[in-house]
């Protein structure tokens, strides 16, 4: 079935000639494309049959949908007071009960998801982009710059996240922007480190050397050839990072250092529930469930993606 090529063999070595596409002459380009497509299909099939991955995907989609459509899904205004019905348990009117001001907890959970989604989306994407750039600079730049950036990353990582947040809040007072800034700053190092390691490996490969000798600029090499090779593992890392980010936001809001009280967030719901834990135990239960479902979803999804697309990454974590 191998198509016979009309191309002559190399006169000096007698090996089959290599044409301009860089393929050995008994392999056609269409075959390569077909094989790549087959491999991609196989991976998607592997993902579809992985119950953890599919379960994770369902939970993640649920998280996105419930946050985006919260205003239409929520049965009540999240800040509407209903004092006579305060601290009621789960009933058909209030599926997750009400809080100490009679606000519907289920509606507040749905709206709290919007805060979590906002923080996760902005925080993870900004941290990923900055980490990618810094990591490539560290891996490709001069040695002293690499060492300096590594020292910076180590310093940022030396602060336990919550402790750094506490120190900053002590001076500025709580705000959502501060939570976002803390999350971005503390998650940059992990993206930067992964990028740096991958860049260092790529730096010594033949195709980068070939490019360099053809006179390509540093920017071109990084943008066209290093970044596409690094971005896959980084996206998987990002999926695994979402639970951390969501947890930090909820934790800080729980301490009263994040989202300010009238706004609903999973953390503020837990905080209000914690204060009335003896009278209304279901509030901390209801407030915790969406948090767990979200972290589980992203963890399962990230792990399934990693196992299928990047098996080497599983080691050393």
């Amino acid at each position: 079935m191998i198509p016979v090529s009309a191309k002559p063999s190399d006169p000096e070595t007698g090996l089959p000639a290599i044409d301009s596409t860089g393929l050995p002459d008994h392999v056609s380009e269409a075959e390569v494309r077909e094989s790549a497509a087959r491999e991609r299909l196989e991976k998607i099939r592997m993902f579809m049959t992985n119950w953890q991955g599919m379960g994770g995907l369902v939970l993640v989609l649920l998280f996105f949908a419930s946050a985006i459509f919260a205003p239409w899904l929520a049965p009540y205004d999240p800040n509407a007071l209903d004092i006579p019905a305060r601290l009621s348990g789960p009933t058909w009117e209030h599926l997750a009960g009400t809080d100490q001001l009679g606000r519907d907890t289920f509606s507040r959970i749905l709206h709290g998801g919007r805060v979590a989604l906002k923080i996760a989306a902005i925080g993870v994407s900004v941290a990923l982009i900055v980490g990618l750039v810094l990591g490539m600079i560290a891996g490709f730049g001069p040695r002293w710059l690499d060492n300096f950036l590594l020292l910076l990353f180590d310093t940022v990582r030396a602060f336990p996240t919550i402790v750094l947040a506490l120190a900053t809040v002590a001076l500025t007072g709580p705000s959502l922007e501060l939570v976002l800034a803390i999350i971005i700053i503390t998650s940059i190092p992990q993206y930067a480190r992964v990028t740096r390691t991958a860049t260092l490996t790529l730096r010594n490969t033949d195709f980068i050397l070939a490019e360099r000798s053809l006179g390509a600029g540093v920017f071109r090499m990084l943008w066209h050839h290093v970044m596409p090779n690094v971005v896959g593992p980084l996206l998987i890392l990002a999926a695994m990072d979402v639970p951390v980010v969501v947890t930090v936001e909820a934790g800080l809001s729980f301490l009263g250092l994040g989202v300010l009280p009238p706004t609903a967030s999973w953390g503020t719901i837990l905080n209000e529930g914690y204060l009335v834990i003896r009278d209304a135990p279901w509030m901390v239960v209801a407030g915790g469930i969406p948090l767990i479902l979200t972290t589980l979803g992203f963890t399962f999804l990230g792990e399934a993606l990693r196992d299928i697309f990047d098996p080497r990454m599983g080691k050393g974590r």
Partner: protein
């Protein structure tokens, strides 16, 4: 080893130096009068004047920084805004509670997690392995502060088996141990999962090595092979993980102390933040961070001691 030791110590010292710089500059990055910001709205004019004199706020900023570093090196971290007691003394009183909690939490996780990981690796795909796998992902996914709240709800509020608040009567060991159980459970739970997974993964890799096959061929019992030979090598990545994860452990300890009203460093920082008592925040954060850096350093040195290959990576 000596070269590695020097380099590694130098790196840690540089990181601690930068941490001090960050903590110092936080105060000066915020617009406004540093003394008023640091002491909060409730401080009296005399306290502000005293603080300004103590911090040498009339000197240039770099001079203030040098004085701050000099004081910190001699163990002087400033004084409490309200009671005028030295910050170092206050931290000394509280740090015992935090260390006891961290050690107990990590301790039970190590005792349970490492053998679980070994057993799962010895029989891959057995029922125990699958159960361990699902359980460990489950425990990792639940945020530790939620474990604290739910443990408080179930065991202290509903079942009333264990005390909910405080650290127990001073001097009464039994009471103090009872107060330790719930917070230690909460901060250690995720670590059981982490450790079991990590040990399982590196154990599976080691069990494929030829020297393990030789040990088996000599007729050693499986228990001797696993715990005597394989675990020694497989434990190395786990030590790194414990070192690196110590920061997360400190974060969850802060939550556990606040939720269970346990008078440790975390509660101290939180209360000081609420009361806008910046000297205490600054001092306690410095101590907590230095603790973390020292643990990472120790774990790295331990690895380098066990594994000569690591010494060449720095």
């Amino acid at each position: 080893m000596l070269i590695y030791l020097t380099k590694r110590l130098g790196l840690s010292a540089a990181v601690i130096g930068l941490v001090v710089l960050v903590l110092f500059s936080l105060l000066h990055l915020i617009p406004g009068d540093p003394a008023t910001i640091a002491l909060g709205p409730r401080a009296t004019p005399e306290a502000i004047a005293r603080y300004a004199a103590k911090m040498h706020l009339d000197e240039p900023v770099w001079m203030q920084f040098l004085i701050y570093v000099g004081n910190a090196l001699t163990g002087d971290l400033g004084v409490d805004v309200f009671s005028d007691r030295p910050v170092t003394q206050i931290i000394n009183e509280r740090i015992g509670f935090t260390l006891a909690l961290v050690c107990t939490g990590m301790g039970w996780a190590v005792i349970l997690g490492i053998p679980l990981g070994c057993l799962a690796a010895v029989k891959p795909n057995s029922v125990l392995d699958r159960v361990t796998g699902v359980l460990s992902v489950g425990t990792i996914a639940v945020p530790s502060f939620l474990v604290s709240i739910w443990a408080l709800l179930i065991f202290a509020v509903q079942l009333r088996w264990l005390p909910a608040i405080g650290a127990g009567e001073p001097g009464d060991m039994h009471d103090q141990a009872l107060h330790l159980i719930l917070p230690a459970f909460a901060i250690g739970l995720a670590w059981v999962g982490y450790l079991a997974r990590m040990v399982r993964a590196s154990m599976l890799e080691v069990m494929g090595e030829t020297y393990i096959r030789s040990a088996r061929a000599f007729g050693l019992t499986p228990r001797k092979v696993v715990f005597g030979y394989a675990l020694r090598v497989a434990i190395l990545p786990t030590i790194t993980l414990i070192g690196m994860g110590f920061g997360g452990l400190i974060s969850s300890t802060v939550f556990a102390e606040i939720i269970f009203a346990r008078p440790g460093i975390g509660k101290l920082i939180f209360d000081a933040v609420m009361a806008r008592n910046f000297p205490i925040v600054q001092g306690a954060v410095l101590v907590a961070t230095a603790l973390y850096i020292i643990v990472v350093l120790l774990s790295d040195l331990l690895i380098a001691w066990f594994d000569p290959r690591v010494r060449e990576t720095l």
